[in-house]
């Protein structure tokens, strides 16, 4: 492989504590190294910002619900087609881009790893086929477990070991990466036309509560010692006053400590926090409770969060929170798709327009930014748009602009139709913090990598780590004349390396890389009970056989990268 040396750049690497110093970065055989030979290709990064490749912790970019969005929203593709060009295949779509465009757009912004945040286990094959067709970036997928019949039956009887054995089997069968929970119990209740809006609402038939599911899954996760923690979208998403449910959910992590060999410290990751930080009891007195939620998170080190920033765009919401999407279509009267996934989960899809002229949307915008700005530890608060729910991931450069510039935030606040309402319902007007480049590297690289248990692999520029490097045309020594320059710089990288291959040059795709599928292979003691239960459920309930369930072999996962976990000693 070609050796590279990146010279003269301003390096920001929280893993090594480098804060903008000029430092050479050497690349050899796909890894960051101390030294390269004199024949190494020199990349001059003079006046540029050098960071590790960014790590996306929560995004919906592959699988049946994404594809359902693509199918039922042809209008999302209208006038967005980009023809075949150089290394790029044809692409299209705005909030739900094609797989190819997804890979290219992430890479051009300097992202080299991304997690698909909700994989219905039964459709893991579809998820992996799309992941396979998304070029360049490494991807993993989180199977959803918060409404899974096995999990609810085991946890009802407090059988953590059986839950763990089932999770280990499921991660292997679906080539999954982490334990994802979406509206615990509520999505199963949706099959009865009901919902669970608090952590204590009983799940119909299963006679278990969301709180019991969440605690049980934290225990099972730590029993296995998985790289990532239990990753939760709590009950009561998106409703005025939902922050109380969020705090109740966060409190469930109290007393639990992370047990793993990956350097992860949290036991719970709260995702798209923006959607869970609402006060008020109607849309009329809707207000921000970002302070209450971030105060709690700041004090409790066993929790990480991501923001879920609203980007003020037309987008497509999609979630395994089936009852929420039904609620949403009732609010905006736009088309609704709903899917039930047998013993496992459900999903809904509804288009949504976050209009700057609607006060609720503008307040949501402010809440997302408040969460990032009020979080004291950038290693525990990560930037997402919950793509495509709060906005397309292609808007990250704009979110970065808002976070790095009070001037840019003020300009947006002034452009809102209901400016006064936004200022009184949130504290966005009084926050003068501007995220530094070092903090940005924490929030988009080192932090999410640590939370995912990938610290030794990506998110930093330490010798031995994968050579995922993003170089931005942004000079940290020069004052920012116009905040839009930040957005421009972070939209298109000067250079991106993925595992040592230069995949982006001057904002254009230079190679389609060596994409890998990340998954977790957890070994547990033989558990005949769980194997018997799995066999029985397939015979009695599933519409497909076990042999047609698993994602195996080259077709689905052509380039796997397994993180090994041994839980047999327990």
């Amino acid at each position: 492989m070609t050796e590279y040396i990146i010279k003269n750049g301003h390096v920001f690497d929280p893993v090594q504590g480098i804060k903008g110093d000029k430092k050479d970065i050497s690349i050899k055989d796909g890894k960051i190294v101390d030294k390269v030979g004199s024949g190494a290709k020199v990349i001059d990064a003079k006046g540029m910002t050098v960071m590790a490749g960014a790590v996306e912790i929560h995004s919906h970019i592959a699988g049946p619900k994404v594809n359902l969005g693509r199918i039922y929203r042809p209008e999302d593709k209208l006038f967005t087609c980009t023809p075949t060009k150089g290394h790029e295949r044809m692409g299209g779509g705005n909030s739900i881009p094609t797989t190819f465009k997804t890979g290219y757009e992430y890479a051009k912004m300097g992202y080299t790893t991304a997690m698909e945040a909700a994989m219905p286990p039964m459709f893991s094959r579809h998820v992996h086929e799309e992941i396979r067709d998304t070029p360049i970036i490494d991807e993993g997928a989180f199977p959803v477990l918060g409404n899974n019949w096995f999990v609810m039956e085991y946890l009802k009887n407090n059988e953590v070991e059986n839950t763990a054995a089932y999770i280990a089997w499921l991660l292997r069968a679906t080539k999954g990466y982490a334990v994802k929970v979406v509206n615990p119990g509520g999505t199963e209740a949706w099959a009865w036309g009901l919902n669970c809006l608090t952590v204590n609402d009983p799940v119909p038939y299963f006679d278990i509560t969301p709180a019991e599911i969440v605690k049980g899954l934290i225990q099972a996760n730590e029993y296995l010692g998985l790289p990532h923690s239990m990753h939760i979208h709590p009950n009561n998403l998106g409703n005025p006053g939902c922050y109380e449910t969020t705090l109740d959910t966060l409190k469930l992590a109290e007393g639990f400590k992370a047990k793993n060999k990956f350097g992860r410290e949290q036991v719970m990751h709260l995702t798209h926090t923006q959607f869970h930080s609402y006060g008020g009891d109607t849309w009329a007195n809707f207000e921000s409770k970002a302070k209450e939620v971030t105060d709690y998170v700041n004090k409790n080190k066993n929790i990480t969060i991501d923001t879920g920033n609203v980007t003020l765009d037309e987008t497509t919401t999609m979630t395994a929170d089936g009852p929420f999407e039904h609620h949403l279509t009732g609010l905006n009267h736009l088309k609704w798709a709903n899917v039930d996934v047998e013993l496992e989960t459900a999903a809904g899809v509804v288009p949504y327009i976050y209009s700057p002229n609607i006060s609720v949307c503008a307040i949501q915008w402010a809440i997302g930014l408040e969460i990032a700005l009020m979080s004291k530890d950038p290693m525990r608060c990560f930037i997402t748009t919950d793509h495509p729910n709060a906005g397309p991931f292609t808007r990250y450069p704009r979110v970065i602009k808002w976070l790095m510039s009070t001037k840019a935030r003020e300009a947006q606040v002034n452009a809102f139709k209901h400016k006064d309402k936004v200022l009184s319902a949130t504290s966005i007007g009084s926050l003068d913090r501007e995220i530094s480049l070092y903090e940005l590297a924490q929030m988009t690289r080192a932090g999410p990598a640590k939370s995912l248990g990938l610290t030794s692999i990506c998110g930093g520029l330490k010798p031995g780590m994968d050579a995922d490097v993003a170089i931005y045309n942004f000079n940290p020594e020069k004052p920012v004349a116009n905040p839009d320059d930040i957005e421009t710089a972070f939209s298109r990288c000067a250079h991106v390396f993925k595992s040592g291959v230069e995949v982006v040059t001057n904002g254009e795709i230079a190679a389609t890389g060596n994409k890998r599928t990340l998954w977790v292979n957890a070994k547990v003691n033989d558990n005949p009970q769980v194997m018997r239960d799995i066999n029985e459920k397939f015979l009695k309930y599933y519409s497909i056989s076990q042999a047609n369930y698993e994602s195996l072999g080259h077709h689905f996962v052509p380039n796997p990268f397994a993180l090994e976990v041994d839980a047999t000693h327990v």
Partner: protein, 266 residues
């Protein structure tokens, strides 16, 4: 106003996608520059000059530009797409998407046009002297934002799904229409001087449908609401008034439910 005349000399073997035939794309260009404007024949990129003879030159802006399209353009799509001002005259029949996403100006089609004419149109005027195809003034596939402004006049007949998801503006058809008129619409007005088939106003939330002739099969979601006298194009007449679609959601204004209106001439 300056006039550009383009005449089809070398008809395409496949369908031609020519969204560059609009006053906006022509504005400020001489004939030789207009000949270089891109088009697609099937999936092959080409230029306007390969198919059309171009004479005259455009005005400085779209508003100062008039385009006359001569010859057989029955296999040309997207004529006048997204035009914002100026004039476009099509002397023969045209294919899909005539005046689609138009925001202003005047478009006159002297022959027939195929489906999706005036699709999601926001402003301007379209006159079709022949017949219009399906989905006139409707929304793009999957979209919920149909025609929202401007006027369309069809002197002949129109096809099915006229004004689907319409939000505003006005469509007049002097002849007959096929099934589905203003399905899902939330505004706007449709005047049918001839007869309508079935499914008139299905899922109509708001908006007016005025029919002078017969309706084959009435939607069950409409209920009689007396009679009304309306003045249409300067002629006063009596109409039976129906409100609906009662199976659909409706807004309330000052405590009153706002229904869609269907008027049929008595």
């Amino acid at each position: 106003m300056d006039t550009v005349t383009i005449t089809m000399k070398n008809p395409p073997a496949l369908y031609l996608e020519a969204d560059t035939i609009s006053p906006d794309a022509f504005a400020g260009k001489a004939a030789s520059q207009i000949a270089e404007l891109p088009v697609f024949e099937g999936n092959t990129p080409s230029t306007l000059g390969n198919y059309f003879e171009i004479s005259g030159s455009a005005g400085a802006t779209a508003a100062d530009t008039k385009i006359v399209v001569k010859g057989d353009v029955s296999k040309v799509k997207y004529l006048g797409m997204k035009m914002s001002a100026g004039e476009l005259i099509i002397e023969g029949n045209a294919d899909l998407y005539v005046g689609a996403w138009m925001t202003g100006g005047k478009l006159l089609a002297k022959g027939n046009v195929e489906a999706f004419a005036g699709l999601a149109m926001k402003g301007g005027e379209i006159t079709i002297e022949g017949n219009a195809g399906n989905y006139l003034g409707a929304a793009y596939r999957g979209d919920w934002r149909g025609m929202s402004g401007g006027k369309i006049l069809v002197k002949g007949n129109a096809g099915s799904d006229l004004g689907m998801y319409m939000l505003g503006g006005e469509i007049t058809v002097n002849g007959n229409v096929d099934v589905h008129v203003m399905t899902h619409a939330e505004g706007g007005r449709t005047i049918i001087k001839g007869n309508a088939a079935s499914k008139v106003g299905g899922q109509l939330v708001e908006g007016d449908i005025i029919i002078f002739g017969a309706i084959d099969v009435m939607m069950p979601g409409f209920k009689p609401a007396g009679e009304a006298e309306l003045e249409i194009d300067g002629v006063k007449a009596k109409f039976a008034h129906y409100i609906g679609d009662t199976g659909e959601r409706h807004k309330k204004k000052k405590g009153q439910i706002v229904y869609g209106n269907l008027y049929q001439k008595i």
